[in-house]
Symmetry: C3
Subunit: 149 residues, 3 copies
């Protein structure tokens, strides 16, 4: 594939798929299956919550171990993952290429609890600013800023 | 179009459009206009609800006649379709190609009632696992698994 | 880029990005940054609300000045924009090309208030029917029909 226009289109769809897949994994993957989640993040990836909210405090986690610790902690608190009756909706995504190898995927997220009840609850929402970089193993997310509100 | 990369990109966007169009048709098409809905399904398509919920019971329907019967029944019960003040939101979609001619489009759905009121109600939500196949008349959905929760 | 298939794919992703970017700008751009919003609309664009709702009355605004007046008015009333704790979700989008240079992007929108609270409110929802045209400066939206409900 030498056509840069085609390459850009393929890059954008790959990024859009990764954002969705990360959400599916966060919501439905077993702890063991979470390895796939981390294959989609660079080794030095940062996950940063920029402001406090009632569910989620301001924090910045860098590297797979620190990010995984956060995921496992939220799972153990019943906030997310299989069996917690929660789900994240991701929508309203734009993908902006800062260069051929770096892109910002900006989108909105909505976090639902009581998903199996006849009245699911919207418990938190906000914005993700996801920075992606091209790697030899495909596009990976290198920074996610979580902006509640 | 001989470039397989371009073909794949075109396939993915076609599938993403079909998932949205099926939703628009389910929500807003008249009974007569529903023929378009079935043009987007293979003749042997299956629509399966995998688990019970208060709005929707476990069921599996195969073929246009059986699936249409379900749509018409839900419309007659005021659960969906024009005039029922309901709408489905579809989001968080990944498209994964199992082969050049078969793809899984995994996404989340949210079902709203009282859509014309100042406080629309989220009445049910969950996941769709949609299998698409390439046919001489374009991509068509051959199986939808509906997973409430 | 001479391949019409590739051109069509690039056009569709450009349109999908513009719909998201318009939403991001409406929600988060400062009044000064709104100029970018209008770069994405044709000079003669029309923004039309087709039916009354409690939040938004039937109206039709044509041209940047009239549309901007509506945006500024809704901002001054605390209905949208930075600091109002509101956000629009856009989802379920299909893009249908009426010709090589004109497309209809049909999607659903959900309007949330109290976004920073632990119980954000879904205050209005409905459909957008967005008509886009190709211009020498890229695709621009020339008509948005807002259909509450």
């Amino acid at each position: 594939m030498n056509d840069p226009v085609v390459q850009r289109l393929a890059d954008e769809l790959e990024i859009r798929n990764i954002v969705a897949e990360l959400t599916h994994l966060a919501d439905t993957a077993s702890d063991a299956e979470l390895d796939r989640y981390f294959e989609l993040l660079t080794d030095d990836a940062t996950w940063a919550v920029l402001t406090d909210s009632e569910v989620l405090g301001t924090q910045e986690r860098t590297g797979h171990a620190a990010i995984r610790e956060g995921v496992i902690q939220r799972r153990s608190e019943g906030l997310q993952g299989p069996g917690t009756n929660t789900r994240h909706l991701v929508s309203t995504m734009s993908v902006h290429f800062e260069s051929a190898d770096r892109a910002l995927a900006r989108c909105y997220w909505h976090y639902y609890t009581n998903t199996t009840s006849p009245a699911p609850t919207l418990a938190l929402m906000g914005e993700y600013r996801n920075t992606f970089v091209r790697t030899p193993a495909g596009w990976k997310m290198t920074r996610r800023e979580v902006i509640p509100g």
